[in-house]
């Protein structure tokens, strides 16, 4: 597949529509800086990929090359904005057109890709790779060749000629190896777990065997327990649970009996004291009744006083007589009773009154003393009743406590099966009997308990058997996983070796081409040969040497390095095993390259054209373009073209001259 035509409008520096027919063999374009030579190469890349890669991802002030794809110059706007590239693949022409709003139809791009690429060999994004390898730009000649690191250089060559799916197979092998390794590790873990389970089961078995009682001991313990439980002949297993209940009951009995014995003296005292207290209560109750009866019989203290003179009456009478005495007779009349008296009778009357008052006073004093005596008797009787009642209450409390204590003992005795009147000796005997039974039951239970160890032993043996089966399965799985790992590794190794060995074979075939191109371009007058070598195992390097082990990367001048780089990049292009694109596009390849080496390049390009390649070259110098045009093989019309680009009056790039080279005279040297 070759390029047939470049038609652009409103693209980069081309405002107006410009039609550039590309020769099938050789096309040279000249023009000063900024007239759009590189834009023609940009247009081809843009049509194929939708991008212009030479600017990379560079951004400035938030802008990138994407903002400058279409015309941004002064003057009137372009009537159209598009890039249209016509590709020729034998009889078929395919036109790829991009506009600011429209991309080529996917089927068109697929057809172009199918025409440019050998299916099955191409790397991912083959059109991007093809543009990178086929459009050789001035600014990238050194940076993409001699200035690359040796590993990058190797990778570039490998990408050009490599068996593209080798990495996929190696990666598949690597993934399988990782899966196999992971499964192998899991199997190892399972083996370890199974071994641990075996060890655990074995330990349980050892422990169970160590704890297991002899059969005779089991029989004796069974008999003892059956006797204690008053069971008939019973399977030993069935004695364990009731035996545990028996031991629990006997432990309680032992505790109760111990409690009874520890409080025995107190119980005795309470029993004796209870009778005394009950008698005292009865007595106190009688005493209270008597006291209350006596209290009821006591006379009312106020009864005598109400019937006789009182001290107040005596005092009033005394004061009345004294008043009569002081007043004396009034008109021979007593001032007190108005009776007629003379002094004598009056005095006798006063004396008589005084005696009567004296007797009344005496009587009043006697009545008061009697009343006081009666009150004291009542108080004493009341106090005695109260004291007796208090004593009675205390006695009642005490007897209640004693009764409770004794009731508790009664219950305890009843609980252990003893009568209420059991003696202390009987209680002691009962306690000793319970203790003996308890000891026997505990011992028997301990022996019978080993029956569970027997079950543990059986369980342990079953676990061990299961763990051994598990180990066997795990070992089998681990063995399979190891072997699968080995097979996966072998497949991975085979895929890697297949990739690297086929690649090395190809490299061995490509390296002479590199050396030949170097020899043809002759960057250096002395070191006319270059040695390319591949070294390294895991990391691979492509080394370049001239002379006696000298590195041209650091030895050559700028122009020589560029010429060496051209040899490398042209070799890469010619080695693209998967490419069917026959075009090589060189954008100003001879900057910094002298005339002599430019002639060498012209000879190389002439041979490329002669071999059927399509070569498009852009240069600044018209004389250089003429030199190139003269040197190219031209056998027929349309095989070579020469254009000159310049800026038009309004600053838009335009074609200003076209002069197609014509075939030369075939035979000029006579024999």
């Amino acid at each position: 597949m070759k390029i047939e035509r470049i038609l652009i409008s409103g693209f980069r520096g081309f405002r107006d529509t410009v039609d550039v027919p590309i020769a099938s063999g050789f096309t040279v374009i000249d023009g000063r800086n900024g007239v759009g030579k590189s834009t023609l190469f940009d247009a081809i890349e843009f049509a194929l990929t939708g991008h212009i890669s030479k600017y990379g991802e560079t951004k400035a002030s938030g802008e990138s090359v994407e903002d400058y794809i279409w015309w941004k110059g002064e003057g009137p706007s372009p009537s159209q904005r598009f890039v249209e590239i016509t590709f020729r693949d034998g009889p078929d022409a395919i036109v790829l057109k991009r506009t600011p709003i429209e991309d080529p139809a996917p089927e068109l791009l697929s057809r172009v890709e199918a025409g440019m690429v050998n299916a099955g060999m191409a790397p991912p994004s083959p059109l991007l790779q093809l543009c990178a390898a086929s459009i050789i730009r001035d600014e990238n000649i050194a940076s993409l060749s001699l200035d690359l690191s040796e590993t990058q250089r190797y990778a570039k060559l490998r990408q050009a000629i490599g068996a593209s799916d080798a990495d996929d197979w190696a990666e598949r092998g690597n993934r399988l190896t990782k899966i196999a390794r992971k499964r192998s590790e899991e199997a190892k873990t399972e083996v370890a777990a199974a071994n641990a389970a075996i060890a655990d089961a074995s330990r349980k078995i050892d422990d169970a065997r160590a704890s297991l009682a002899p059969e005779t001991a089991i029989a004796e313990a069974s008999a003892t327990m059956a006797q204690l439980l008053q069971f008939g002949p019973t399977v030993p297993d069935q004695l364990i649970s009731p035996g545990r209940d028996f031991v629990a009951l006997r432990e309680k009995n032992a505790r109760d009996l111990t409690m009874i014995l520890s409080g025995w003296e107190g119980y005795e005292r309470d029993a004796e004291a209870l009778e005394v207290c009950e008698a005292a209560i009865e007595k106190a109750q009688n005493e209270i009744e008597i006291a209350q009866a006596e209290r009821a019989l006591l006379p009312d203290p106020d009864e005598g006083e109400a019937a006789g003179p009182t001290a107040d009456l005596v005092t009033q009478l005394h004061e009345l007589r004294s008043l009569g005495a002081r007043i004396g007779l009034v008109d021979q009349s007593c001032p007190l009773c108005s009776a007629n008296h003379d002094a004598t009778s009056f005095a006798a009357g006063l004396a008589k009154a005084a005696n009567a008052i004296e007797r009344m006073d005496k009587k009043a004093s006697e009545l008061a003393a009697e009343a006081t005596k009666r009150r004291v008797a009542i108080v004493d009787a009341d106090r005695k009743i109260a004291e007796t009642r208090s004593s009675l209450a205390s006695l009642v409390d005490r007897t209640d406590r004693q009764r409770q204590e004794l009731e508790a003992r009664r219950l305890l005795l009843g609980g252990v099966g003893l009568p209420l009147n059991a003696s202390k000796a009987e209680v002691i005997n009962a306690r000793d009997a319970v203790a003996a039974e308890l000891e026997a039951a505990r011992h028997a239970l301990g022996v019978l308990g080993t029956l569970s160890q027997n079950r543990q032993l059986e369980n342990g043996i079953a676990q061990l058997e299961e763990a051994r089966k598990r180990l066997s399965r795990a070992q089998d799985r681990a063995g399979r996983a190891r072997r699968a790992d080995a097979i996966a590794s072998a497949l991975y190794d085979a895929a890697r070796r297949a990739g690297s060995e086929t690649l090395d074979l190809r490299l061995e075939r490509v390296l002479p081409l590199m050396a030949e191109l170097y020899g043809r371009l002759r960057p250096h007058p002395v070191w006319q040969d270059i040695e390319y070598s591949i070294r390294g195992d895991l990391r691979r390097f492509l080394s370049l040497q001239v002379g006696d082990g000298l590195n041209p990367q650091f030895l050559f001048s700028s122009g020589q390095r560029r010429a060496t780089g051209l040899a490398f990049l042209l070799s890469i292009n010619l080695s693209l095993a998967w490419s069917r694109w026959r075009s090589i596009l060189l954008d100003d390849p001879v900057q910094h390259v002298d005339d002599f080496r430019t002639v060498n390049l012209a000879e190389v390009l002439a041979q490329l054209v002669a071999s059927g390649r399509q070569v498009v070259v852009a240069v600044e110098d018209a004389a250089l373009a003429e030199l190139l045009a003269r040197r190219m093989p031209v056998l027929g019309a349309g095989e070579a073209r020469r254009f000159t680009l310049a800026l038009g009056s309004e600053g838009s790039s335009t074609l200003v001259r076209r002069s197609d080279p014509v075939p030369m005279l075939a035979k000029t040297l006579a024999a």
Binding site: W169, A481, I487, T502, R506, L513, L627, A666, T668, L669
Partner: protein, 183 residues
């Protein structure tokens, strides 16, 4: 006839050049053996020397003798005359100084394009000397690689079914199961 010229003639003929030998005599009667060659685009002459020193000493005079001899033809060739070559080779090898001198001859772009080469012997030497004029000889023709076949060739110790499963489009889990089953 100089054997190197014969070798050059053979190489050029094989690659489509028309050739003829010429003997150019000087005024003093000395003969200069040369090989003339031509194709549709270029024409030229091969002159052989025994040593680089002779080449360095004589090339200019010999250039002029050849140019004089073919003056009419070169004039008639018109644009093709721009693609006229003079290939100067020596049988003896060049030392460092002579290599530099040979390089300077090549870089002299006056008149015919000069190609120099020292240490030329045999057909291979002739091919090396004429390299800029010859088609690419080392361009490899790299056929597609059947990587499945290459992997099969490198895994013959493995079960063929396992290799086939690996090289199939089967899911890796399926392939892994097969690896374990066959392991």
């Amino acid at each position: 006839m100089n054997d190197i010229l014969k070798h050059c003639e053979g190489v050029l003929s094989q690659t489509g050049f028309s050739t003829h030998f010429a003997e150019i005599r000087s005024d003093d009667g000395k003969a200069l053996e040369a090989l003339a060659f031509e194709d549709a685009t270029i024409l030229g002459f091969v002159v052989v020397y025994e040593t680089p020193a002779q080449l360095i000493t004589s090339w200019k005079a010999d250039h002029d003798r050849v140019a004089m001899k073919y003056r009419d033809a070169l004039q008639a060739a018109r644009k093709k005359a721009w693609n006229a070559y003079l290939v100067l080779v020596s049988r003896g090898s060049a030392d460092f100084g002579e290599s530099l001198a040979l390089g300077q001859i090549e870089e002299n772009l006056e008149a015919m394009r000069k190609i120099t080469k020292a240490g030329v012997t045999g057909v291979a030497g002739a091919r090396t000397a004429l390299l800029p004029l010859l088609p690419f000889r080392a361009a490899p023709s790299l056929d597609p690689i059947n990587m499945r076949l290459e992997i099969e060739l490198r895994s013959t110790e493995l079960d063929a079914d396992v290799v086939a499963a690996f090289l199939s489009n089967a899911e890796e889990g399926v392939v892994m199961q097969m690896l374990e089953d066959r392991a």
